[in-house]
Subunit: 236 residues, 2 copies
């Protein structure tokens, strides 16, 4: 989909690497980001590292306190709720506009990404326990591509940008959730419902299905967090 990343500068490369590592949970929420350590781990100097962190602050992936350093942005149920609310607003708006203005090429892109996503989801096991990492990565990529395709004809770069930012933040929550989750619920059915509504250019139904999809996903995350907290309490 996207052309191979430019990564013309070290600063750019580190920015993307850090972002991926935070989203994937390899850098844990709330963890202190020690500059010395990061320089070693990512093999860069101070300057590009700090530039990358400055950009991640804008993405809300990193938080900072003057003279005290950087931390991976913490996760909270309150933030999850806010992300879900605003993302629903932007995503339904963008899908409406896409359905209204999208041409045949857009629809082909939607169909293509949906087909690829459905193919992966057919292979998913019932429980997350046995999920190989490479399958999860592939699913994440296909899921992102499908949702991106849906809104891609909105004709509003700003809506797209804000939505992308919220999508990335959501992904952090979803990954934590999947690590303790009991399964894949009816995600596949929800994607199908969205796809069919969009294919039929049924704006109202597409929005409703999208809202349901995002709400249910958030609900899963809340459950996983509750379970996680219970585990922590019992081990303490």
């Amino acid at each position: 989909m996207l052309s191979a990343s430019p990564e013309k500068s070290l600063s750019d490369r580190i920015y993307r690497q850090l972002r991926e590592d935070i989203i994937a949970g390899r850098l844990l929420a709330g963890a202190k980001l020690k500059l010395e350590g990061l320089m070693q781990d990512y093999s860069v100097g101070m300057s590009p590292l700090r530039e990358a962190l400055a950009r991640l602050i804008g993405d809300r992936m990193v938080v900072t306190e003057a003279q005290r350093g950087f931390w991976v942005a913490p996760l909270s149920i309150e933030e999850l709720n806010d992300i879900t609310r605003v993302r629903t607003l932007l995503e339904t708006e963008a899908i409406s506009a896409s359905i209204t203005h999208g041409d045949a090429q857009w629809m082909a892109r939607v169909t293509q990404t949906f087909t690829e996503l459905a193919e992966i989801e057919a292979q998913l096991p019932r429980t997350a326990e046995s999920l190989p990492a490479h399958l999860l990565e592939t699913w994440e990529q296909k899921n992102r591509a499908f949702h991106a395709a849906l809104v891609s004809a909105a004709g509003s770069p700003i809506t797209i940008r804000f939505r992308d930012q919220l999508y990335q933040q959501s992904e952090r929550y979803r990954r934590v959730s999947l690590a303790v989750s009991r399964g894949w619920r009816s995600v596949s059915d929800e994607h199908l419902a969205i796809y069919e509504a969009v294919r039929d250019r049924n704006v109202l139904r597409a929005c409703k299905m999208t809202e349901i999809h995002l709400t249910r996903t958030a609900e899963e995350v809340r459950k996983a967090f509750a379970q996680l907290e219970a585990t922590e309490r019992s081990s303490a």
Copy 2:
């Protein structure tokens, strides 16, 4: 309103200074930002300067191209239209939520900021020609405070953050517009209409008046830009 900026680090100070200078138009849209020159002008070293620029990229105040440097983000009618559309969406959503959830303290803040804004607007001359710079600065501050107060009880940090970003971008356009504008139109009346609707907790009317206000402001900017282009063509 806001407490005195922390500015605990040089990087922070430069970030704010550059942002203000871009918004106020002291750094012109599209201008090349030469690092050597900025280091001189703002009396800082390379590191904090580049960190500040990295953050401004996230705010869409600066654009960059790897190995080629930084520029003040350009202005365009297309972007103005997009900003206005998305800002209307977020601002009406936030005002609705504020009216629904806002308490007496919130309403007091709205009344206070409106009163202060109305006071300034009563002093505004009919034409922008004779407007002293300090009055413009005061108006900008009061206008920002009023619009911020309106949405401040929305209970959605993310909506507020996105709205703030779009407000800042809008301000750039508005300042260019005022530099060639013929007057202050009925801004004061529009603010009054919004205030009264909010005071009466009339959600629908508050949203409608907000939409009208933002749409008319954008229209003024478009006119100013058209006039500016005409001037440029005749002088070329």
